[in-house]
């Protein structure tokens, strides 16, 4: 399985990730992502992947967890 990891230095709070994967990602009061759920099945994995690809500053990545 994979988990969503945020590079906080890179993240500018564009918020596209939360639009792409609202079931996994929420935004805080200042527009920065809160990972509410990590992907647990193939469907949410695809959602997470789309959030990663949507980020204009490449601040999200999927990291393998063992």
């Amino acid at each position: 399985m994979k988990k969503i990891v945020v590079d906080w230095v890179a993240c500018d709070g564009h918020g596209l990730c939360a639009q792409m994967a609202p079931e996994l990602i929420d935004l805080d009061d200042w527009g920065f992502p809160i990972i509410t759920h990590q992907p647990e099945d193939q469907r949410s994995n695809l959602l997470a992947q789309s959030a990663v690809e949507a980020c204009p500053v490449l601040a999200l990545r999927l990291e393998r967890v063992d």
Partner: protein
């Protein structure tokens, strides 16, 4: 804050870290830097360079048995870092982190002013165990320890197998964060970054880098040299209401009240700030249960952090003082990570309005919501530390904070000394 002040040094036990510094001198004489010859009479000489790396496993075992953990505040076991660096590919580097970011902490400064050779012994031994030829001491710009450290390095010409140089860090809170050190020494700006590899694997310019705090290296030297006698040795900073700092050498498990007594500071009826500005409040009633140990209190859990014990004036309102410190900490954000850049000022502003008993209706509830929200959402631990301080106010003085939220008057005032003091310390004097 007085423009210039001196540190005092004392010990709750027969001194070991400050052996020769404290024991030899008459009480009237000012403590001074222990020169190399006298240092060697007390602490011997470090592991010789020749084939030193063959002793790595033994050293790791001794350091594990001695429970040597990082004294920069993170408390990470040193032996694990050492082994990890030894196992990594590349040309290793040893870094002594002496950029004491916490503005009230002065224990690393005291150590470098009085016993710099202990720090160098630990760093040189570590370097030899790693077959490393280079040591960098990371010191914040304008540190009063510079002259002492330079003099000590000048005395180490016989240890010519390693070169020791000093690099100066920007004088700000996050300069001491481990990734700031790595980035600064790699030729970049000394700011935190999101860690993907431990510095022990890929650190400065991609080299395996052993980064530890200055006191940790002293503890490495003490433990390898004195074994059991060094176990639990700890330097603490006691600060009184005027901002006067006292360095107290102690042993883990010692009651905090004994540490305060050794510093000659009276804490009757006073709130105590433990572990640093990014630390925790405990009430005067809790001081009697507090020990200088990894957990100063178990319930609520209060960590040792950088081992600061700051005695507040009972006339200062803890809400006001916390708002002052939180505002300063918020201003120390490097401005790189959103939750820290925006969250910390929001928290500090809400708390400042509460401190004036003129809060917005949402301020009190927002604190509860925001404190857990900023934690763990940054490249470094700065938001965690700041949120932790405010959270400890909610635990220790929650009732009083709620009085402020209800707009009830508070007869206590702002701190007349401390916040944002930097180590305007000119030297060391006897207590």
């Amino acid at each position: 804050m007085s423009a210039q002040s001196s540190l005092t040094v004392s010990s709750t036990h027969p001194p070991l870290t400050f052996a020769g510094v404290l024991s030899g001198a008459s009480s009237a004489a000012a403590p001074r830097r222990l020169p190399l010859r006298e240092h060697q009479m007390v602490h011997g000489v470090p592991l010789p360079a020749k084939k030193a790396h063959r002793h790595l496993d033994d050293a790791v075992a001794v350091l594990q048995h001695g429970v040597v953990k990082g004294r920069g505040g993170a408390n990470f076991p040193f032996a694990i870092k050492l082994e990890s660096t030894a196992g990594a590919r590349g040309n290793p580097l040893v870094v002594v982190n002496a950029a004491e970011g916490e503005p009230a902490s002065a224990k690393d400064l005291g150590l470098l002013l009085l016993a710099p050779h202990l720090v160098l012994d630990g760093a040189i031994t570590s370097a030899r165990l790693l077959k490393c030829k280079e040591i960098v001491v990371w010191l914040h710009h304008g540190s009063p320890a510079l002259a002492s450290l330079e003099a000590a390095i000048g005395e180490r010409r016989s240890d010519s197998d390693v070169t020791i140089r000093i690099a100066q860090a920007p004088d700000r809170f996050v300069s001491g964060q481990v990734t700031s050190v790595v980035q600064g020494l790699s030729g970049g700006t000394a700011l935190p970054y999101s860690l993907r590899f431990q510095p022990s694997i890929k650190g400065v310019k991609g080299r395996p880098t052993l980064v530890s705090n200055a006191e940790t290296y002293a503890l490495v030297a003490l433990t390898l040299q004195h074994r059991e006698a060094a176990h639990g040795r700890l330097l603490t900073t006691v600060m009184n209401t005027d901002g006067q700092r006292h360095i107290v050498e102690t042993v883990k498990g010692t009651p905090v009240s004994s540490v305060l007594s050794a510093a000659g500071v009276d804490a009757t009826g006073a709130p105590l700030l433990v572990g640093g500005y990014a630390g925790s409040w405990i009430t005067s009633d809790q001081i009697q249960h507090a020990t200088a140990d990894d957990f100063v209190l178990r319930d609520p859990a209060v960590r040792l952090g950088v081992a600061l014990f700051a005695v507040a004036d009972p006339q200062w309102c803890p809400v006001v003082v916390t708002a002052q410190i939180a505002s300063w900490l918020a201003g120390q954000s490097a401005g790189q990570c959103g939750p820290c850049t925006f969250g910390l000022p929001a928290i500090a502003d809400a708390l400042s309005r509460l401190a004036k008993s003129r809060p917005a209706t949402t301020d009190r509830a927002n604190l509860d919501r925001w404190l857990p929200l900023v934690r763990g959402r940054g490249a470094c631990a700065h938001p965690d530390g700041t949120a932790g301080l405010v959270a400890s106010l909610l635990v220790a003085y929650g009732t009083h904070l709620n009085d402020h939220a209800a707009g009830k008057g508070c007869h206590r005032g702002a701190a007349t000394a401390w916040p944002a003091l930097r180590s305007a310390i000119s030297g060391v004097r006897s207590r």
